[in-house]
Symmetry: C2
Subunit: 341 residues, 2 copies
DNA sequence: CTGTTAGCGCATTCAA
DNA sequence: TTGAATGCGCTAACAG
């Protein structure tokens, strides 16, 4: 194993001082051309690269940003990451990704780790468990320590920082309205427990749409699914009712896909007997049969916006910096699952 | 913004030297209990944490490992990452993820960046473009510089390092044999261009299975799909033949899902008229209708194995270290797309 | 044109 | 029991 080449070694090679080498490699006018050429050629030959650790320590910044997401096996989050990564790389930043696995404890651990000088800023989407606990002091500490923070998708109102969110209420409204428009009379929602903010908001959009169209809000049609238990069983209950719904709005594509499967078991034809619309335009929505109508969230764009906000804050001389909340609008994507024939 | 607390500041507070504080916090027996208690209490109160950058520089290691993958919006890779992350965290390592986006240039850039002292080791799955170019000097440089490297899934034979691969030939064989077993007489394969090693290997398994069962290998049934052009169009051609196949083996789940969609357009019923089997047990396979039979790759397990190999190499005193290639066997998952009724 | 010094934050060896 | 000195690799202010 070859040892890494350092300024020191180059200096010894030419019997000059370390700073001379440093300057030569930076093409400083202070150094004679002749020496510069020799040093540069030598450094080139050995692929000299300044050690990042040393630079980081000296500059007190690392040119890397941290991302904490609940779960990586999730199309939406990977889209956001792609968006973040694209802009970050463009601006010379690298990206460090950590997973909280929806666990409060792991979220805190990851934050501590990242906050410890490793990154210049952090982008996070809050773990479900954290939302459930309502325990946010780790975010406050982070901000108190002056580390720029951007929250996306699952954000916390009482934490003051830049945020990028989906217009979940509107998305839920659009989806529900679409079902109403195509003639659904009894529309169920498959949503999350209320502590998952995005689920609660989409649910609110759903209820608003119903009210605006003079339709009853029926608690029996609001299924709050708890991931910790058997999801399929909970969804199956929708069809077990005497008068099953003719429209289903699922707050994510997995619930939507499962609903379609269960419908088939009950010999309910999608879309003719039942229209289904999901949320998030992932692979399942595109490739399922029938393909799923859905609410597009534009994750890639969210990621881009999040990193832009973060980099702006990092670059700002933190005097009177103004935080903002960017709302990314949703779009309906019409596919087979809501196209009666 | 509160400044980060450092040894220096604690030292000033108690008017002792930095090294005293350092020792006190490490509970060194050299320091009096009384002073230790006071210093520890103070440090605790201010949430003192040794600065990672400084530690990294001093220890010449960072306790983080780098991952370079072609694409993150891909179920298999996210599974591998999860596996890596789980073990890494368990052993006190963090994970830095970079994407090559299948680009040779970006792969090289990422490697240079990571190799620069930032990580203790690297896990990579090679970009398609790199495989196409056959340009591997960046890997050789890395190894030459003594940075541990593990390749997974898309590996390069001539690079000598630890590797973790799927038994792609066997997977292709199993899938094809399954189609043969259920009575398919004319089996097509949707694969990649040959430079994508995994595609070529699965194709080989396919051909081996055909040969072993005395079935003709028909070049017209071997569709090598070029991602750069319209995938659907290329897949459609399979059904446009006068005598379309009654079995399709797709080397990934996207191709399989598209094939099923196209079949429907041609009024070909899956699975009754056509059986389809994919590769990789992702969300599409599970949630599509009909659900897709597939070859499970055990990405999570691959990730775990890869990081274990890497950490072992990192910890080894690099004398006579032996590299190995771990082969992860595949399993067939039987679902609706190959269950004639 | 080249070198010396100091400092980023920490751990460690050696001296007091 | 405590502290001073050294070094990890690099840059920049300041000397020569």
């Amino acid at each position: 194993m070859k040892q890494k080449i350092t300024l020191k070694k180059i200096a010894k090679e030419f019997e000059v001082s370390i700073s001379t080498v440093s300057k030569a490699l930076k093409d400083s006018h202070e150094i004679s051309n002749e020496l510069k050429e020799k040093i540069k050629a030598f450094a080139d030959y050995y692929h000299y690269k300044p050690n990042s650790l040393a630079l980081n320590l000296r500059n007190q910044k690392t040119k890397t940003i941290g991302i904490i997401i609940p779960e990586i096996v999730h199309h939406f989050f990977t889209k956001v990451i792609s968006g973040i990564e694209y802009i970050a790389n463009e601006k010379g930043y690298n990206v460090m990704i950590c997973m909280s696995n929806e666990s409060y404890e792991k979220e805190v651990l990851n934050m501590d780790m990242l906050a410890n000088g490793i990154v210049d800023g952090i982008i996070v989407s809050v773990a479900k468990e954290t939302e459930e606990k309502g325990e946010y002091s780790h975010f406050k500490d982070l901000i108190y320590n002056g580390i720029p923070l951007v929250m996306f998708d699952r954000v916390i109102d009482e934490i003051i920082c830049n945020k990028v969110i989906t217009n979940d209420i509107d998305g839920g409204y659009l989806a529900t309205k679409h079902l109403i428009n195509i003639g659904c009379k009894k529309i169920a929602i498959l949503t999350t427990p209320d502590y998952v903010t995005v689920g609660a908001l989409r649910n609110q959009g759903y209820q608003n749409a119903l009210s605006d169209h003079n339709m009853q809000i029926n608690e029996d049609l609001i299924i709050k699914i708890d991931d910790k238990h058997d999801i399929e069983k909970q969804i199956k209950k929708v069809f077990a009712q005497k008068n099953p719904p003719d429209g289903i709005f699922a707050v994510n594509e997995i619930y939507a896909a499962i609903a379609m499967k269960k419908a088939k078991n009950y010999n309910i034809n999608v879309p003719n007997d039942l229209s289904v619309i999901g949320f998030t335009d992932g692979l399942i929505s595109q490739y399922s049969t029938p393909s799923l109508s859905t609410v597009a969230q534009h994750g890639y764009h969210m990621g881009q916006k999040a990193i832009e906000l973060l980099l702006t804050e990092i670059d700002s001389q933190d005097t009177d910096y103004q935080y903002e909340t960017t709302i990314i609008e949703t779009d309906l994507i019409f596919r087979e699952s809501t196209s009666k024939v």
